[in-house]
Symmetry: C2
Amino acid sequence: MATIKDVARIAGVSVASVSRVLNNGPKVSKKTIENVLKVVKDLNYTPNANARALVTQKSTTLGVVIPDLIDPFFASLANGVEQVARQKNMQLLLSTGLVSAETEMRAINLLIERRCDVMVVHSKKLSDQALIDLANKVPGLVLIDRYIEEIAQRCVWLDNLEGGKIAARHLLALNHQSFACISSKHQIDDPLLRLQGFQQELKSAGVDIEESLIEYGEPTLQGGEMATQKLLASGKRFSALFVYNDAMAIGAISTLEDNGFKVPSDISVLGFDDVLLSRYSRPKLSTLNYPIEEMAMQATNIGLELTAKQADMNKNSNYKHIPRLVKRESTNYKL
Amino acid sequence: MATIKDVARIAGVSVASVSRVLNNGPKVSKKTIENVLKVVKDLNYTPNANARALVTQKSTTLGVVIPDLIDPFFASLANGVEQVARQKNMQLLLSTGLVSAETEMRAINLLIERRCDVMVVHSKKLSDQALIDLANKVPGLVLIDRYIEEIAQRCVWLDNLEGGKIAARHLLALNHQSFACISSKHQIDDPLLRLQGFQQELKSAGVDIEESLIEYGEPTLQGGEMATQKLLASGKRFSALFVYNDAMAIGAISTLEDNGFKVPSDISVLGFDDVLLSRYSRPKLSTLNYPIEEMAMQATNIGLELTAKQADMNKNSNYKHIPRLVKRESTNYKL
DNA sequence: TTGAAAGCGCTACCAG
DNA sequence: CTGGTAGCGCTTTCAA
C-alpha cells in the first residue's frame, strides 16, 4: 500500500508538503495542492491512521464496552455512541463478551491499548475501586448505567429505585390491589432497586406483596416464562404483574395466556426498558422507557469534553435519568 | 501514560528486553522477566497498539461494515464477527450509517485507514466494479450477503431465489391454493429474488398469484401493517401470505388479527430471516432461517486466511448458503 | 511557501 | 541472553 513517501516522491515535493495538503494545512500553494491531490488519487493512497495516531497522540476512536451485541438494549447503547462518532468523524471500537470482572477488565484494557480518546463503559462486575482507578488512568472514560459517588461527574445512570416507584404508582392508579413481581436472578443492583422501589411505594399505599408472589429468573423470554409458571404454581391470585424487563414480560404474557389468563383484562403486565420488542408484542407492552440511546450520546459527549479538557469539572453536574412510563395495551384498569 | 522506555529505564534493562518479555520472546532470563513484569505492574504500563501496528504492519483489528446496529439481523452479523475476533484476540472496528454508495464507500475507507487486517462488508449500494476494485486493494476484504462472480471466492451469500422456492413448497404442501405476498420496496436484489423464487415454484405447481395480491412496503413492522391493509383493501381473498422479512410478517399478523382474521386458522403467514423477534411473536412465527451469524463467522475466517495467505484460492470454493424452513405456529394446514 | 529532520512507541535485526 | 539501533508512516517544528 502506498505511503506518504511514495506520494511525495512522485509528486516531486517533500512529505511535509503532502502532509500539509492532506490536513488542510496553512500556506500551501494551489499548484502544490492540485499536484499532490492528483498523485494521491492516481496511487489510490490512503493515509495510515495508526501512524497518525502515534504522532498526534489521539486516535479519533471511541471505545464501547458492552456485554453483548445481541441484546437490543446494548445495541441501542452502542448506536448512541456511534451516532456521536459519525458526527465527530470518529470510529467505533467495540469490546464485548463480558461475563466476569476479569473479562470486563480485559475488554477495557484492549481499548486502552488502542488509546481510544473516549471510552463508554457498561460495567456491572468490576468493583467501584477498580473503576475509579481506571477513570483516573483514562481521562475520557465515562461509566454508563452505573453510579459511583467518587466519580459522579463521570457517571450517566438511571434511577432504578424511582423506576420501581413509578411502576407501582401506575398500577395502583389503575385500581390494582394484588401484585406479583418477576425479578432477575442476576447479581447486579438494577433488579434489586427496581423491586425495592416497587415495594416501597406499595407499602406507602398500605399494600404488601407476598413473598411467594416474587419470582426470579434469567432476564430473557424463557426466564420470564419459567418464572411465570412458578408464580402460577403457587396458586395465589394477582391482578398486576411487574416484570424486570421487556423480554421477561413478553415471556410472562405468553405463559399467562397459555394458562387461560387474558392480558390485560385478567392480569395487567408492566415491563421495563421499552426496547423495540415491546412495540411488537401482542398486546403491545406497557413499560418504562429507559432512554439508553440518549444517555449513551450524553456519555460520549461528556467523554469528549473530558479529553478536550473543556470540562468544567463542576461537581454539581448531575447525570441521573428518570424512566418514563409508556402506557400501551398490557396494563389496564382493574374492574 | 508510561511508555516502554520508562519501563526499560526503571527496570534497568533495554527496551529490547522489555519488548521481549511483553511478547513472550525467546531467550529471556527468568530474572529479567520477573523484574520487567514488576515494573510494568508498578507503572500500570499498557503497550500502545498503534505503535505496534505501525511496526508489525498488522493491526489485529477486524472491520465490519453494516447499515446499522439496531436491526437485529445486522447485530447478529456483527456478533458473528465479534466471536471470531475474541477467539483470535483481535478487536472489532465498526462502521455503520450506510444509506448510499457514498456513505458505504466512506465507511469502508475509514476501515482501510485503520489498516484492518480483515474487513467483513455488507454493501448493497456500491457497484460490482467498485467492490471488485476494493477487494483488489484490500486482501482481507470479504463480502457478505452479496454475490459477485468475479470475486466469488470472496463472497459469502444466501440463495434468496431458493429461499422463495422453499417458502412456496412449504405453503403448497400445506394445501394452500390462494396466495398473497408482501415484498420490500427497497431497491436491492433480495426482495426481488425471494419473490421470484416464490412465484416460479408456484407456477411450476400450476398456481398463479394475482398482481393485486402483491404489495410492497418498508421492511419494518409498520411497513408490514400498511402493506397488509392495502392487501385487505383489495377485497381479494387468500389463505397464505409470504412476507419479505420477520418484522413485516409480525406487522402483517397484527393487522390481520385486527381485521378479524385468525392466524394461522384463517390465514397462514410465513416470514423470512428468523430473527429473535420471530420467537417472541404470538403466534410464534414460521419463517426461513437465515444463518447470518454463522455466515459472518465464515466470512471472517475466510478473511483471516486470505491475509495469512493460507488461502488455497481455489476458485471452486462455494460460499452459498440455503435458508432452512423453521415451522412454528403461524403456518398451518389449509382445511 | 517549502524542505529537512526529529521523533511518536514499538519491534526486530544484528552484534556481542 | 542482552543491548543498540534502524525504521514503521506520519506530523510538526525550525530554517530556508
